[in-house]
């Protein structure tokens, strides 16, 4: 029954991941907003912020990509959870059929029951593989967000440097860059937690 406990953790953990992603979504929206803000400032700064503009475009895109990824991950987490529940039901049924076979003992029909038990065990195994595969896809998506955030972290650090040339706009651009940098850090932290949660259930 050990496997049960482990699978149980799985359909719970995918729900936990889905709920943490709500926060990620919120932060990603903040990043998008900050990027738009930066764009507006850069617009006003004109030539002085020329080197800053492509950076804000890039960050804006990162934010949007993250939001889209979060939506994908949400769907994926739900699939994992659904498959894990099915796997749990399958394994449970398998154990109960095995028990029935034991209780029947030596009987002309024992073979009928044990064949059924075996078929369900194979079903459960197939389902378990499916859960594993889906969990790997989930990890992959999480990793994609992770690398998005690493990139926007690097870019926002660079934009702080670029902001120096923006003279009177320097300070507000630097504030925006800092906001994005912090937001990326927070998302990275949450994603790391999510990855750990999934790994623990595997």
């Amino acid at each position: 029954m050990n496997r049960h406990r482990h699978q149980q953790a799985f359909f719970v953990s995918s729900a936990v991941v889905a709920s943490r992603l709500r926060t990620v979504m919120q932060i990603a929206k903040e990043i998008s907003l900050a990027a738009k803000n930066a764009k507006a400032i850069a617009e006003r700064a004109g030539e002085k912020a020329n080197s800053f503009k492509p950076i804000t475009d890039f960050i804006d895109e990162m934010g949007r990509e993250t939001i889209q990824l979060v939506e994908e991950i949400n769907d994926q987490a739900l699939s994992v959870s659904r498959s894990a529940v099915e796997e749990f039901r399958c394994s449970d049924a398998s154990a109960r059929f095995v028990r029935a076979t034991e209780l029947l003992g030596d009987n002309e029909r024992t073979k009928v029951l044990s064949e059924k038990a075996e078929a369900i065990r194979k079903d459960a195994q197939r389902q378990q593989k499916e859960v594993h595969q889906q969990a790997m896809q989930l990890l992959d998506l999480l990793q994609q967000i992770g690398s998005c955030m690493r990139a926007s972290g690097v870019i926002s650090t660079r934009s702080r440097v670029e902001a120096v040339t923006a003279e009177e706009y320097q300070e507000s651009l630097q504030v925006v860059a800092e906001t994005i940098e912090k937001a990326s850090e927070r998302i990275k932290g949450i994603i790391r937690d999510c990855e750990n949660t999934i790994h623990h259930s595997m």
């Binding site: 109960r96 059929f97 029935a100 209780l103 029947l104 009928v112 029951l113 059924k116």
Partner: protein
């Protein structure tokens, strides 16, 4: 699980109960099987926790491929929460259960088994030696509820009506009716909601020729004890839960 043959003339009624394998804290239930050649019917096959014992017992009498029908008197978990497992064991079977509860009972898992809803006025199914009648027992206790009457064997499977809360290992049949009453009062007063429904059921059931009345919990009634039960039940006031609401929160 203990097995008792209730009838054996050309076909059989078998009762399974008093499962020693069942986990603590769940109510003991009586399950029934009618074995009639290639037609094998399970009546109120029980909850998930007793499925393994039931499947083993049933398989001693028939190949699972010969279980043709399942009957569920109502939607309770102790009646039919094992459905998702029977759905794997006997995917070709038909489930006869209240039409009213279809959307609810399907929550237990019913992907292969065909759900045949019994209409409010009841119904019947023909086996090889007999024709089983689904007798309406609405509000006793579920709002959509049936009992099974076999006019050949003269057995009435009466679901929760006649149920008693017994200690483990109680005998199969009522021996002293007056003593047995104590074990039935609470169950009937609190679980049965309607005096009108109860009296209507008694009026109809009195017309049936019954040798054995077989409830889903506790002991079975035989011969004169069936009439004793009907008299006792007629005089009993049910639906007593509301008496306690004077002390309740709202």
């Amino acid at each position: 699980m203990k097995e008792t043959i209730l009838f054996d003339e050309g076909y059989q009624w078998i009762m399974f109960g008093r499962d020693p394998d069942k986990p603590e804290g769940i109510i003991d239930t009586n399950q029934f099987m009618i074995k009639d050649g290639n037609r094998n019917v399970l009546l109120d096959p029980g909850g998930i926790e007793i499925f393994s014992s039931m499947l083993a017992c049933v398989t001693r009498y028939a190949d699972p491929s010969e279980i043709s029908d399942i009957f569920a008197s109502h939607q309770d978990p102790d009646i039919i929460s094992s459905l998702g497992l029977w759905d794997r064991a006997v995917p070709h079977a038909k489930l006869h259960a209240p039409w009213l509860w279809e959307g609810f009972i399907r929550h237990f898992g019913c992907e292969n088994i065909q759900y045949c809803g019994i209409s409010d006025e009841g119904g019947e199914i023909e086996l090889n030696h007999t024709r089983l009648q689904f007798i309406p027992a609405h509000y006793l206790h579920a709002s959509g509820n049936y009992h099974v009457y076999d006019p050949e064997a003269k057995i009435l499977m009466s679901g929760d009506v006649g149920a008693a809360l017994e200690p483990e290992g109680a005998p199969m049949f009522v021996e002293d009716f007056d003593q047995h009453v104590q074990k039935m009062i609470l169950f009937h007063q609190r679980w049965m909601p309607s005096n009108r429904a109860k009296n209507d059921w008694i009026r109809r059931v009195r017309k049936l020729n019954i040798e054995i009345m077989a409830p889903q919990h506790g002991r079975l009634f035989k011969g004169d004890d069936v009439k004793r039960f009907l008299d006792w039940f007629e005089a009993l006031e049910v639906g007593t839960g509301i008496k306690n609401t004077a002390r309740s929160y709202a």
